[in-house]
Symmetry: C2
Subunit: 294 residues, 2 copies
DNA sequence: TATTTCCCATAGACATGGTCTATAGCTCCT
DNA sequence: AGGAGCTATAGACCATGTCTATGGGAAATA
């Protein structure tokens, strides 16, 4: 068979060589001296090479033993480093957390959790990948991210989605349209005003468009913008009425730079979903982060 | 206690990661698949970290597993190299042979053995250290040479000396003293001629000086030289009568450029001794070389 | 020289734990 | 639906690594 079959013997050899004493090696390894003696003898037998000179002071490497040691020492050091690294990963002293989602969810939903997590675990490197929901799902399946944060609903049998907080989309306007503040509008009335929508095929836009259609209306935006920030900004400047997530404009609503348009139809709420791969183990950092969010 | 206690598990991990399959790893390690499965599970449990994604095609490293692998791979490669190196040492495909002795013994006694040994084992590097007998003994005790080749007798309890071939010292002269060729000389007569001796405190010189003294004569050389080659050369040139080892001038005796002086007293023979440290394991190359010489 | 005190080696009992066979569950492919 | 890959699990078994007890040798101590 192969010669030095049992790698445990190299560990014993390493400590015996390093300490120059079987007794010391035994202490380091939490073994007894005879065990170490036996292990060394066994390694020597398997290799067919005498590795140590024994005398009453201890042991010393033979020439061949010294050659072996030069390799084994490196090998053992690598294993030690590996174990240290694993410990640091486990304790979240190092590692990385890779999250996919939309910019707005990062900013308005995840930010406080991320702050807390990074403060508690400064060794963790954070990677945020933004994209559309299908892109995020693709990232997840490619293993490029540990978890995705998107709007529900998600239907994909490979994914496990846990519902998180509820969000309420709504129409908001700036002071320019102050006359609408205390009114309850119908879709009909709303469509008299310039509408600002998110430009991309976002889940929220598709949902609201469908809702209007189900009532027999066509929702055609005057302006399309590419970011949630611009949706807010344009509404504030009076360029139109923006369809936004209420929770994302809570500051503007409070300070009065925006107000919510009241409609005679209840707009459907949406939920944030946290997606992970079903049947795939979570990275340590990701599972800890999800605990934190929940 | 410490986490990844059993280094055997890393070997299993290495092959599982390398082949991407527990079944393949089992084949490589001459184990069964359940054993590998169990070993991996155990390593994961001990580390507290999931190392592989399992699916019906096989296994794939998790992020953490990949980090572990980057260390373990190096470590395993080093062990493989170590085992290869040990095998090559054992087969005398590499290694070194360090011998101490006198120049003349190297040249006239060991040379043919060394030639044969090196031809058979071209990977072995030879180190020859010359010095006086006490120096050689010191080298041995310091571990700077594997074996020493010197004249007997040696008395040192730390050494194990095996007697090798017998050598006969004698006086030789060149054609200049041809008149002595068929004579049997007494010490008295011999001392009429210029004597050439080895200059250093060599064992042979001390022995012959003592012998003369035991017969009541004082052996005082006309010329002292520092090498055996010069002893021979000076005698050939007729500068005097040299005290040399007969076996070392066999060529000159045959071709007639030197002849042996016959004495009425039998000069004591000497033996070559091969010294090694008692109670210390021999290097592989040294023990094989000694077998060859014996 | 006698004594103590370190070492390491050996013997034999014991139990841990690694390995096996058998089997089940899963996914993908035909 | 069936087959052919995987991996996971259960439980029996025994090899081997570990222990205690002991012996012997060398070196320091007295």
């Amino acid at each position: 068979m192969s010669m030095g079959n049992n790698y445990e013997l190299y560990k014993v050899f390493y400590w015996a060589a390093k300490t120059g004493s079987l007794t010391q090696a035994a202490k380091a390894l939490f073994l007894t001296q005879p065990s170490v003696s036996h292990a060394i003898k066994q390694l020597e037998d398997r290799l067919g090479i005498t590795l140590f000179y024994r005398n009453s002071k201890g042991v010393a490497l033979t020439h061949e033993g010294a050659i072996l040691y030069s390799y084994i020492e490196q090998s053992q050091i690598l294993i030690s480093r590996a174990e240290e690294k694993m410990a640091s990963l486990k304790n979240l002293e190092s590692g990385e957390l890779r999250i996919g989602g939309s910019d707005s969810l990062f900013k308005h939903y995840l930010l406080p959790y991320l702050e807390g997590f990074l403060q508690k675990h400064p060794g963790i490197r954070l990677h945020l990948n933004h994209g559309t929901t299908p892109e995020i799902i693709a990232f997840l399946k490619e293993g490029r991210i540990d978890l995705g944060v998107v709007r529900m609903p998600i239907v994909d049998s490979q994914l496990k989605v846990t519902e998180s907080i509820q969000l309420q989309d709504c129409f908001v306007a700036g002071p320019r349209f102050a006359e609408l503040k205390n009114m309850v509008l119908s879709f009909d009335m709303l469509l008299q005003y310039p509408i600002i929508l998110f430009s991309r095929n976002s889940r929220a836009r598709m949902a609201i468009t469908e809702l209007f259609e189900s009532y027999g209306y066509k929702l055609k935006p005057e302006i399309e913008v590419g970011s949630v920030d611009l949706l807010i900004e344009f509404a504030r400047k009076g360029l139109g009425i923006s369809y936004v997530t209420r929770e994302f404009v809570s500051k503007e609503l409070e300070e009065g730079s925006l107000f919510e348009i009241q409609l005679d139809v209840q707009l459907p709420p949406s939920h944030v979903g946290i997606m992970i791969m079903r049947n795939m183990p979570l990275s340590i950092s990701a599972s800890r982060f999800i605990e934190l969010v929940r």
